[in-house]
Symmetry: C2
């Protein structure tokens, strides 16, 4: 069974392909009608829905998957949150991490969590969404080469390694996106809108 994923992020596509095992994950870029929408929602769910609806329009008749994810840091009043990918002026992973470490320098509370809201839209317009979290803390220097985004500065609770030091399989087992995706699959199977 085919699922069209509203993302061009190679890291997310790999993560989805590994977790949605048995499904064919097709990037939305395969559909010429696709244009990335303006993610102007004010929550993760709203942005995920905006992406999913844009993908459903471009890939009519297909099951579409979209997610919106980010890092939430209580000591920064929830920032970067939905602005995680565009936290710094440059908007690159490296610049975003640099800004995060600068803003957290000297902070007593370095706890943080990744949050992912994942959405499936079916051809009959039924929608299911689920949330996944990965709790941990932000360390002071980058470590590891895997993953993307804030992974090199995030150490999950119960681990010594950063997310970027874990293998893809280890990360998917505990990541916010992994949890949200697995919850979504299980809900979809319950609904019998997906058959495994």
């Amino acid at each position: 069974m085919k699922i069209v994923f509203a993302s061009g992020n190679k890291g997310k596509l790999r993560e989805a392909a590994e977790i949605f095992e048995g499904f064919e994950i097709v990037p939305i870029s395969a559909f010429p009608a696709w244009t990335a929408p303006d993610e102007n929602g004010s929550t993760f769910l709203q942005n995920a829905v905006i992406k999913a609806e844009a993908a459903a329009k471009a890939a009519e008749g297909q099951i579409v998957l979209a997610d919106d994810s980010g890092l939430v840091v209580p000591a920064l009043n929830g920032a970067p949150g939905i602005f995680s990918a565009r936290f710094s002026a440059e908007g690159t992973d490296a610049a975003n991490r640099k800004k995060l470490l600068a803003e957290l320098s000297g902070a007593g509370d370095r706890s943080a969590y990744f949050l992912c809201t994942a959405v499936l839209i079916f051809p009959d317009k039924t929608v299911i969404a689920a949330e996944g979290r990965c709790c941990g803390k932000i360390i002071g220097t980058e470590r590891g080469e895997n993953g993307f985004g804030y992974d090199p500065v995030f150490v999950p609770d119960g681990y010594e390694k950063t997310l970027a030091e874990l293998s893809e399989g280890e990360k998917n087992a505990i990541s916010h996106r992994g949890k949200a995706f697995r919850k979504l699959i299980s809900r979809a199977v319950d609904l019998a809108v997906i058959t495994e």
Copy 2:
């Protein structure tokens, strides 16, 4: 089982109470933390999600229901659509109907459909949404005293009466909101997140 409905519209509340038989439908106004959000989404689903999330915040720990509904008229390029409740400058039901009839005067194609997107958010942030449609046509003069909104000028396919001439029970059996709500209940039961 209690469901908090993110609406202050008495007509919708009655419709929900009749369809969600066996559930206690609580208006969101019962929660002092509630403030109606800015419905600035660009689709029915986005606006329904905006309302549902605002309600979930005000009524933490509760199951919340929200919907966004409107009339879609192909001859008017889909208008009034998500702007159905604020189609006219006055924004009253009577003024909205008057504007609709004026814009459709002389139109060859008077077909139209009501669309409802209904959303449930559960305490664990699982979201289910479903869509319902009621197809029919817009007549030239108002008829009937029941219902609200555009009901007095809308004759459903297969009927001679307007929605405003039908009883509440008859309307709920065929209405867009009735269909979306029933689909939502059935999905929620499949998911075992609601027990009837």
